[in-house]
């Protein structure tokens, strides 16, 4: 009889490790009423010396469902993780770098999406208006710094679809407490000194400095960029994507608010630079700002200078200019270098990588934590009962995530290929046909005549839905060939008016992002 899969060992305790532990532990939590044998034994081994790195502070709306499934309260999460509400991204300077150049990729679907040909009617009758602002009320909420819900909205429920900005270090600590005290996850803080192999090549055990041998049936590698199990032990190669996405370095700083009551943006600001872009994420207590760039096109010093002047300008806009410059000069950016790419396989023998150990690309659409959620969910739902079945599950997992990585990279690349910026070789090289996948090239030709649809993205759990492609394509200035006839124009117009009316009533009813976050310091959201 084949060996049962009963013991899961997670290596690494950052946000990836604890999200994975939380999702699996919650799914396999023993029913307290039954006294049946333990469904699954879950251990997380974390090295005391390795600190989690502070990127990936934006999430997707899927994080709401993830946290709810893990069983934490949203109020506690927001309080303890310095979290704030995120309703999408605003891209500044990506199209041509001009003064008015910006567009939104909101989390809410266009009003009437799939019910009418919104794109055709937008082009026919409203071509001068930004697509996202015509079809969706959410950009208006973001422009006015509104929260996506009211104080009476239950936990995890939304008025306008939302995700979070969060402190990636704090969410690890927050979930650690929940996993160890409520979900029965064994937590070992120790150095893994040796990975012991079985005769067949499986991992037999981990040897630790103070806790001896730790045995498992499945090992989950959440060791970050080091990729200790999949990368270092199994030598599964990283497929580099630097030819497609050039960015390979980031400088990150924490920026205080100019005043204690300064607005907290409820969207990620992403501002294009001459050899990269700057993220700007508003947490409750501070902003997280970083410049991600290509070391082939700029120097660290020049990148740091661009970051400083961005921070100084942003502080000057809300406070005293002199103070802004002084604060910006005082910041010491932390540098992170990475090789953009993903592993050739993610699940190999009895080891599967989740998080940065599986791959990493620039955080342009905050896909890092979403991929962790997708991975942990699939591992949990498909967890093989026996070692014999594991190879079958591994093959499916590898197929699913290779597809997701490819789609992620195509979608990020889309932001670059459509740019008309000509201020540097970085931008013109990004448009070189050789730098994009054949699939993306083909899709772009098709999209000249048909808007992206489910026919282009036919998997059940697509990483980016067709609606996201609409927002980026039309936000970036892509214009399909005009369609003949005015088929169902009135229907589309009806949805445009609906979006505008919803925007007006929501503006009247929603508090500001900061006001809601302040409220949550003293009041709890209800569970119902």
């Amino acid at each position: 009889m084949s060996k049962q899969v009963k013991r899961v060992v997670i290596v690494g305790g950052g946000s990836a490790g604890w999200l994975t532990a939380g999702l699996i532990a919650a799914d396999y939590r023993r029913d307290p009423a039954s006294d049946g044998g333990s469904a699954l034994e879950l251990t997380l081994v974390e090295s005391p010396a390795v600190g989690p790195i502070g990127v990936g502070e934006g999430t997707w709306p899927s994080m709401r469902d993830t946290l709810r499934r893990i069983g934490v309260s949203e109020t506690d999460f927001i309080r303890e993780c310095d979290a704030s509400f995120k309703q999408g991204s605003k891209f500044v300077g990506w199209v041509d770098g001009g003064a008015a150049d910006h567009y939104y990729h909101p989390f809410t679907l266009p009003q009437g999406y799939g019910e009418a040909d919104l794109v055709a009617q937008w082009q026919r009758a409203h071509a001068t208006m930004p697509y996202a602002e015509l079809v969706c009320y959410q950009p208006r909420l973001c422009e006015h710094g509104r929260a996506p819900k009211q104080v009476t909205t239950p936990e995890y429920a939304a008025v306008a679809n939302y995700a979070y900005h969060l402190d990636a270090v704090k969410i690890g600590q927050f979930l650690q407490r929940h996993c160890t005290t409520r979900l029965g996850v064994r937590h070992i803080v120790d150095h893994v000194t040796t990975i012991e192999s079985a005769a067949d090549g499986d991992i037999a055990a981990l040897l630790t400095a103070a806790h001896g041998r730790i045995e498992g049936d499945l090992y989950i590698d959440c060791t970050g960029i080091a990729s200790l199990l999949l990368g270092a032990h199994y030598a599964i190669p990283l497929l580099p994507v630097r030819e497609v996405l050039f960015n390979d370095a980031a400088l990150a700083v924490q920026v205080p608010y100019a005043q204690p009551d300064a607005p907290i943006a409820s969207h990620t600001l992403s501002t294009a630079q001459s050899a990269g872009w700057i993220w700007d994420i508003g947490l409750q207590s501070r902003r997280g700002v970083g410049h991600v760039y290509s070391s082939a096109y700029t120097s660290d010093d020049a990148a740091a200078e661009a970051l400083r002047s961005y921070v100084a300008a942003s502080l000057a806009a809300t406070g005293a200019p002199a103070e802004g410059t002084r604060m910006a000069e005082a910041l010491t950016p932390r540098k992170l270098s990475f090789q953009p790419g993903y592993r050739q396989r993610f699940w190999h023998r009895n080891c599967v990588a989740v998080g940065l150990s599986a791959g990493f690309v620039e955080p342009l659409e905050a896909s890092a934590l979403a991929l962790v959620e997708f991975s942990a969910t699939m591992i949990s739902e498909q967890l093989p009962a026996t070692r014999e079945l594991m190879d079958l599950v591994a093959a499916r997992f590898n197929d699913a995530f290779r597809y997701r990585w490819e789609r992620t990279i195509d979608f990020l690349k889309l932001h670059y290929v459509l740019s008309q910026r000509s201020d540097s070789a970085y931008w013109s090289d990004h448009r070189a046909p050789a730098s994009q996948s054949a699939r993306l090239t083909a899709l772009l030709s098709l999209w000249r005549h048909h808007a992206p649809s489910r026919h282009d993205f036919h998997r059940i759990e697509e990483i980016f839905p067709a609606a996201s492609y609409h927002f980026v394509l039309y936000g970036m200035g892509f214009r399909p060939e005009p369609q003949a006839g005015a088929h169902a124009a009135a229907r589309a117009e009806g949805y445009f008016s609906e979006a505008a009316a919803l925007g007006r009533s929501m503006l009247a009813g929603l508090p500001t992002n900061r006001a809601l976050l302040e409220h949550l310091k003293t009041h709890r959201l209800q569970k119902i």
């Binding site: 009211q150 104080v151 009476t152 909205t153 709890r524 959201l525 209800q526 569970k527 119902i528």
Partner: protein, 239 residues
């Protein structure tokens, strides 16, 4: 607008309060806040429902008086057609406010405030507040007592709500009312007791609720729901 001032027998010597019930005096209320100690009386006339307060997001029990904003189905030509008016309405235009103690570190004193902009406030019509030489009238004494009960009752509400939530006894409900004239009305945003959950509670949980004085008001809420029928009938009669 409201203009709350500390009530005193000098500035407000000649003030009167109209006690007739009419929309013009601010009685066109869809719901009136109530509290557990009042439930026994309230359930004699009105359905008791829960709603989240817009300012805090916390649950507050209400006596339901109508189906839409500004509709009080108990308000007729001859005043309020029920033998009991919720204290939170009866006490208007008076409010309780805190006043800093004259002694350093002393607890704040509870004092009566009046809303001078309230339509009940008059100089010629209604009940007097003060006697000729500054003493309080029976009417004001009664209002004072009412405010005390209201204040004590309201401050006991959060513990009651906390207990309901801890046992997951609240659930949202939507009431779709089809009136005789065929019009469809939906009452949403309210919460009530989940009777199935309540019935499933074990002896320990019921004992705990009883010890917290939550059991009686809980059943009063359930009993009160029978008045939803009255409310619909009242609405049908108006059309």
């Amino acid at each position: 607008m409201t203009k709350l001032v500390l009530l005193n027998n000098v500035d407000h010597k000649a003030l009167r309060v109209i006690t007739r019930r009419a929309a013009a005096y601010g009685d066109a209320l869809m719901a009136a806040p109530t509290f557990p100690a009042e439930f026994r009386t309230i359930q004699g006339c009105y359905p008791i429902v829960f709603q989240k307060r817009a300012d805090t997001g916390q649950f507050q029990p209400f006596a339901l008086l109508g189906f839409e904003e500004g509709e009080n189905l108990f308000l007729g030509k001859d005043g309020w057609e029920a033998h009991y008016i919720p204290m939170s309405v009866e006490r208007l235009p008076f409010f309780i406010g805190g006043q800093r103690s004259s002694e350093p570190g002393g607890a704040p004193k509870r004092v009566i405030h009046i809303d001078l902009d309230h339509p009940r406030v008059s100089s010629s019509d209604g009940e007097r507040l003060f006697r000729e030489f500054g003493g309080t009238t029976d009417y004001l004494d009664r209002m004072n007592m009412l405010l005390d009960q209201l204040d004590a009752g309201m401050s006991a509400t959060p513990a009651f709500i906390e207990a309901l939530l801890a046992h997951e006894l609240l659930e949202s409900f939507v009431l779709d009312v089809t009136l005789k004239d065929g019009s469809e009305n939906r009452l949403a945003g309210f919460y009530t007791i989940n009777e199935e959950r309540l019935r499933a509670l074990d002896g320990t949980a019921i004992g705990a609720l009883h010890a917290q004085n939550c059991l009686e008001p809980l059943y009063m809420v359930i009993a009160s729901m029978a008045h939803l029928r009255d409310l619909i009938d009242r609405r049908n009669r108006r059309r």
